[in-house]
Symmetry: C2
Subunit: 225 residues, 2 copies
DNA sequence: TCAAAAGTGTTTGTTATACACCCATGT
DNA sequence: ACATGGGTGTATAACAAACACTTTTGA
């Protein structure tokens, strides 16, 4: 097979998911390391006739079956980050709902899995560092942009949203205060529908009102949690 | 001369300076474009045995004489961003005091100059876009980290600091409120020294207390303007 | 009836915002 | 005297933080 890739450059993606009240990242284990047990980020290379953003999405889908818009947050280029060869990697991250993807296994990979971001093993190369940077970037951004909703199902109870913020920002919020603060923004639509199958009073479900958000932005509103 | 550079990769730097109450960027005009009038960002290439951060600093110094720590904020890699050839560029920015550098002219460059960031001509390639991104990043960061002081002389009057924030964030602040807010943080040391040669009441000079800031950070303080 | 979470309301202290005002200095 | 910026104080409104309390539901 012919190599049509730009040399010395790679792409790595940090895919965040929220599952069981935990923040997780999508990792793969490659066959290449048959003897070892090393997990790493899904990654790949850039074609000469391909924008890097496109390469990032293509590579992720090829390796994991996940197709999603990603945000590029930096390049990592220490001389010895990959011992065998000089590689500069461009890193992306995205927020997804783990439930809505069926993970795919390509022949190159022996495994694909969601792993708690606060309990990671030692990963390939500098991938632990890359995840740290992604998390920093996410923490900044989630406080000023309503991107957290990408990690939740379309319809969700308010407490799930609170748990999400608590896990990502590593704090805890007062329930009534969190509630009133987020509702005052008028960004959520309260649905008739309620939770089902819970062993306690079922909560109303809400959904994020994207049009409303964009309209408010026009008027100078800024999301701030 | 032998080419020891990694192919298809370049570095570009956005150097911000604050001069005459204006936010400026450092641009160069290359001899290569003798017939045209096109300014661009100072940039260059990465050696195989060199970290990208190091390459960024080296390249900047070679081209402009400015030596400073820079922050990497992203990679730009659209297929046709450089028409002739495929180049992915890794972009950095830094904040400096224009007065403290003597701009150098290398034989490759016909000019080096500070230009108001809000009044830029059409630059080489996608350099206008790169500056936009740098400015976005700077705006985010300057509100939560005391990096603005890097743009001012060691000793400065409070109003200069206010003007700096106003220009970068493109707003205006109430003088008494800005004053009390920044002083309440206890990050500035009030000096005996005063302004000289001004046609009005001379202001006290202040300097940023870096040790104090680091001590406060330890205790959980966070800068927020 | 109890545990667990839903959901509402109130109180208190802190900040943000908007001003009004006086001071000092060079022209 | 006046223009320009230096510098202080205050009143009001908005908001954050803490928490007490009632409701609903399944086990």
């Amino acid at each position: 097979m012919q190599n049509n890739y730009i040399g010395s450059i790679s792409i790595d993606s940090v895919i965040f998911g929220f599952e069981e009240d935990q923040l997780k990242v999508l990792l793969i284990k490659r066959n290449i390391d048959k003897d070892t047990d090393t997990w790493g980020l899904p990654g790949g290379y850039v074609n000469f006739d391909e924008d890097i953003d496109h390469a990032a999405e293509r590579v992720l889908e090829e390796r994991t079956g996940v197709k999603v818009y990603m945000k590029q947050f930096g390049a990592f280029g220490k001389v010895n980050r990959v011992p065998e060869e000089r590689y500069i990697t461009i890193a992306y991250y995205a927020l997804v709902k783990p439930g809505s993807y069926k993970l795919k296994r390509t022949k190159d990979d022996c495994d694909v899995s969601w792993v708690n971001v606060y309990n990671l093993p030692k990963l390939l190369y500098d991938h632990n560092t890359i995840i740290e940077f992604a998390l920093d970037n996410l923490r900044q951004r989630i406080r000023t942009e309503p991107i957290g909703f990408n990690l939740l199902p379309q319809r969700f109870p308010l407490l799930s949203l609170q748990r999400l913020y608590e896990v990502i920002l590593n704090t805890s919020f007062d329930k009534p205060n969190f509630r009133s603060k987020i509702l005052k923004m008028k960004l959520l639509i309260k649905l008739e529908e309620k939770q089902k199958g819970v062993a306690y009073r079922s909560a109303h479900l809400f959904k994020f009102d994207k049009e409303r958000y964009e309209a408010l932005i026009e008027k100078g509103f800024s999301f701030e949690l």
